[in-house]
């Protein structure tokens, strides 16, 4: 592996010569440069219904999960919220979303001060490569969120293998339909 210089956007990686020893990599969840975490329409509607609003401030909640999964059938994930979990200041609800799944919601946990630690781990199914979102509602009513990009390899080529052929077919059928309509009009 050749020496790699830092480039602005990509992560800093310092790799020794060849495929040999690797310096520990720091993997920072995707830096949410935006002011808010915006979910796709389907998911934000559910969030609105559950939390009363879909405006999420980035921060406080983190998603710990692998950045790669093969089938996506059993992906370990941990939702963690930075909260003292006291009577006065605690997490009331944590939700997870996967826009790439047939159904949006991944998880929905109601906890309170009795939990002592706002951290829940489980295993979920993910249908395709894309973003996973997590949202937390605190006792003070504030909403926090994060998102994480994960690659699902198996089936990655399932959806796009015939894309060009279906598109070409659609163009042909549309062209023929037009021609037939025009012919009928005369």
């Amino acid at each position: 592996m050749a020496m790699i210089d830092s480039t602005r956007r990509s992560f800093v990686t310092r790799i020794g010569g060849g495929a040999g020893a690797m310096a520990l990599l720091t993997v920072v969840p995707h830096p949410a440069s935006a002011e808010t975490i915006d979910l796709p329409e389907r998911e934000s509607a559910i969030l609105e219904a559950a939390f009363g609003s879909s405006v999420l401030t980035p921060g406080k909640i983190s998603l710990d999960m692998p950045i790669l999964a093969e089938t996506g059938l059993s992906v370990p994930v941990t939702f963690k919220v930075d909260s003292p979990m006291t009577e006065a200041d605690h997490v009331t609800r944590i939700m997870g979303f996967a826009p790439g799944n047939p159904e949006p919601v991944l998880a929905d946990y109601q906890i309170g001060p009795r939990a002592g630690l706002a951290e829940v781990s489980t295993r979920i199914r993910l249908a395709r490569t894309g973003f996973v979102y997590a949202a937390a509602k605190l006792s003070d009513g504030t909403l926090w969120g994060t998102k994480f990009s994960i690659i699902v390899t198996l089936g990655a080529c399932v959806e796009d293998i015939f894309d060009l052929d279906w598109q070409r077919d659609a163009e042909r059928r549309a062209m023929r339909a037009e021609a037939r309509a025009a012919a009928a009009a005369e």
């Binding site: 790699i4 093969e70 023929r176």
Partner: protein
């Protein structure tokens, strides 16, 4: 079955290279190896200066270009670097290649210049696409590979411009030399500066008319390693302290193990331990771990002979009674029932009911095996919190993910090392085997190389699905179709891998080349049934089109005959509004000397289809003796893939697909009996051999423009139809079933 013949009644065979068509001359000297025998390692021992993730420049000017796709014969270790080199303006002789790293693909997002140039977006991984399939290497990577070359070139020019105090526009880059006025410099000199210089605007990539390297048949970079046995394949990996594993699973796929007697073989020479592989609780079978047992020894032959001697009792499975005959009967029964509708244009039933002539035809195709020459294998080496996996991967990130999942490790600490592949054909994009190797390595605690016997490779293969089809068409008074109904019942890959994408029974990929045929027929109805069995299925070269075109294009011939048309003109008439299909058909007509007026026992047949953006038509010339001996004399192919990166490699892919297709339509098949595969080695699984090889001519009929079609697979589907249609003209008999050996072709 006999193929190719030197005889009075046949065409006189010209010796030497019988490949005609536009084959550019080869005047290139034999090359030294242009990559490391271990293709994942650097080709040179020097620390090249990386200009971007795709290329690094050594002090001596050597440019190492990274290749994202797997080299399994389709020549990506030459065609991908050519694309980068085209824009880089590097001296081609200075180009070497090495695989892109699967681990780095994971950790690094798209580079700035790709995002700035609008080629990739910031959520794409740095190497964008490391799976190899769908004949997508060139067409899906071309843009970002060109951008990688162009942006590097412009950065080199900018570095020189800044050093020489001139405008970048006054600097030219050609054959690794930068020059402005009388000043010159090499790429190597400015590589370091170029890696950090910033450009305000990224260069625009070339259009095909500006290419000068692309389109040339340069010699393959990997050939020198493949003629002296030095190229490393997965099966060749040797690590210090490595042990070997011979594995066997229940011959009935996904069946369990009742019992095995490890003590009976522990004393055999070299045997270290016996490992049982148990799928995790609830581990969905699609994720691949099947119950299996492996013997670990200090050499493969010792592991295998111990495994052969170990008493193993497989448990009964609910599928022990499954056999091909019943599966076909079940699928054929489905043809009588309406299926999930994929295409419904106009009033097909009405059109057929009112037609002058009605034509019907049923067809059938069996499971088919990949039978790559290199049996399955994988090597996994686990150290404290790192794992290295070596193998012939068609989907390196997949292999990496599977090993990480199985070992419960963070993928960041798993490194995949892709070797040369002894054939992939779609089979190696499934990663069940690396998962099995990882599980063995986890239990063994030492680097272990798992190798499957040919029997295991065939019996545990993920097959090309079986399928049956029924066609029905109505012809008008002019003998042209007014209504076309196609119904396919078969084993669905999507239902096996991604069931959630099947909505009310519809899997469009099962209808490839049936739902998207280009014939201009006013009323069309295409529907399908999913008929899966316990036999796992996966992508096979050209996927479902490999059987669908055999069926659909024979039916097009049946319509032509019923309508009193010449089959080629019949097709031309139905695609006269399509430039590419018309060009391919007319090229075929001219180059093959098409005629249906031939003495009995000799016939010409046509088959044409479009897949992955490429149109391929073929005319087969066959001879059948009175007693039914079939000889394939010649296949003429006409191809429109828009543009060519390396014509010689492209022609090799068309010829390769034709041979692979002939193997699958003449005598090769996979039958199921007692729930297990019957043909488990090359004595019963028939493949085309050199003495059965017809003459093959490939002619390019390129329509250019923005068409970039794939080449690895589209050449396969038409051959079965062309041969079957030729047999009809030679004998009057229509082989409705693959393989053709099942049909008695005797005549006269």
């Amino acid at each position: 079955m006999n193929i190719h013949n030197v005889s009075r009644r046949k065409f006189i065979v010209t010796s030497a290279t019988a490949a005609g068509g536009m084959m550019l001359g080869f005047n290139l000297p034999a090359q030294a190896a242009q990559m490391n025998a271990n293709p994942w390692e650097l080709p040179t021992d020097k620390e090249g200066q990386e200009v971007n993730a795709w290329l690094a420049i050594d002090p001596d000017g050597t440019v190492t270009i990274r290749v994202g796709q797997s080299e399994m014969g389709e020549g990506v270790f030459t065609s991908m670097p050519m694309i980068v080199a085209e824009e880089l303006h590097v001296d081609w002789k200075m180009v070497k290649a090495a695989y892109a790293s699967g681990n780095r693909y994971l950790r690094q997002k798209a580079e700035d210049y790709q995002v700035a140039a609008g080629i990739l977006n910031e959520d794409h991984q740095v190497y964008r696409r490391m799976g190899t399939g769908g004949s997508g290497a060139v067409r899906r990577s071309r843009t970002f590979l060109q951008q990688a070359g162009a942006s590097a070139r412009e950065r080199l020019k900018e570095a020189a411009a800044q050093a020489w105090g001139v405008a970048r526009a006054d600097v030219t880059a050609k054959d690794s030399v930068l020059s402005s006025g009388n000043r010159t410099g090499t790429f190597a000199e400015f590589a370091t500066a170029a890696s950090t210089v910033a450009l305000d605007v990224e260069p625009v990539i070339k259009t095909p008319d500006q290419f000068n390297l692309l389109g040339a048949s340069v010699a393959r970079l990997d050939t020198p390693l493949k003629v002296n046995g030095s190229a490393t394949y997965g099966i060749d990996i040797r690590l210090p302290g490595m042990v070997y594993a011979a594995v066997r699973a229940n011959p009935v796929p996904y069946g369990g193990i009742d019992s095995y007697d490890a003590d009976a073989i522990m004393g055999l020479p070299g045997v270290i331990q016996v490992v049982e592989i148990v799928p995790g609780e609830g581990q969905d079978l699609r994720s691949g771990l099947q119950p299996a047992v492996a013997v670990i020894a200090n050499s493969y032959t010792r592991a295998l002979s111990a495994l052969d001697q170990m008493p193993i009792k497989w448990s009964a499975t609910p599928n022990d009674g499954v056999n091909s005959r019943d599966l076909f009967a079940d699928a054929n029964a489905a043809l009588g029932m309406p299926g999930a509708i994929s295409v419904d244009e106009g009033d097909t039933a009405g059109a057929i009911a009112g037609a002058t002539t009605v034509v019907e035809g049923d067809y059938q195709a069996p499971y088919q095996s990949h039978a790559c020459m290199e049996p399955f294998n994988c090597t996994v080496h686990i150290t404290d919190n790192r794992a290295d996996v070596y193998g012939s991967f068609q989907n390196p990130p997949g292999a990496l993910a599977v090993v990480a999942e199985q070992l419960g490790m963070d993928p960041i600490n798993v490194f995949s090392h892709t070797t040369f592949l002894g054939g992939g054909f779609g089979r190696r994009s499934r990663n069940d085997e690396p998962r099995q190797a990882a599980e063995i390595a986890r239990q063994v605690g030492r680097p272990v190389k798992m190798v499957w016997t040919r029997e295991e490779d065939m019996m545990q293969n993920k097959m090309r699905p079986m399928a049956v089809a029924r066609f029905k068409a109505g012809l008008g008074p002019d003998g042209m179709p007014v209504g076309w109904h196609a119904r396919v019942a078969g084993h669905s890959i999507t239902a096996h891998i991604r069931p959630e994408r099947i909505e009310n029974g519809l899997d469009n990929s099962l209808l490839a080349a049936v739902r998207n045929h280009p014939y201009n027929i006013p009323n069309q109805l295409v529907d399908m049934h999913v008929r899966n069995s316990h036999i796992p299925v996966h992508y096979w070269r050209s996927v479902n089109a490999s059987q669908n075109v055999f069926m659909a294009e024979q039916f097009v011939d049946e319509m032509a005959q019923a309508g009193g048309h010449d089959p080629l003109d019949f097709r031309l008439k139905m695609v006269e509004d399509l430039e590419d299909w018309s060009l391919v058909l007319n090229t075929l007509k001219e180059k093959s000397g098409w005629t249906t007026d031939l003495p009995p026992g000799t016939g010409m047949g046509i088959g044409i289809s479009e897949e992955f953006g490429t149109v391929v038509g073929q005319v087969a010339t066959v001879t059948v003796s009175r007693r039914g001996q079939l000889t394939i004399d010649k296949i003429v192919a006409a191809v429109d893939c828009g543009h060519l990166v390396n014509p010689a490699i492209a022609e090799g892919q068309i010829e390769s697909a034709i041979v692979y297709g002939l193997s699958a339509c003449l005598a090769g098949e996979v039958t199921i009996s007692g729930g297990q595969v019957v043909e488990n080695n090359f004595d019963t699984f028939k493949v085309l051999r050199i003495n059965e090889m017809p003459i093959i001519e490939t002619h390019w009929a390129l329509t250019g423009g923005d068409k970039w079609g794939g080449l690895g697979e589209p050449g396969l589907p038409p051959v079965a139809a062309a041969v079957a249609n030729a047999i009809f003209y030679a004998t009057g008999k229509r082989p409705r079933e693959m393989p053709i050996v099942h049909t008695d072709l005797s005549w006269g």
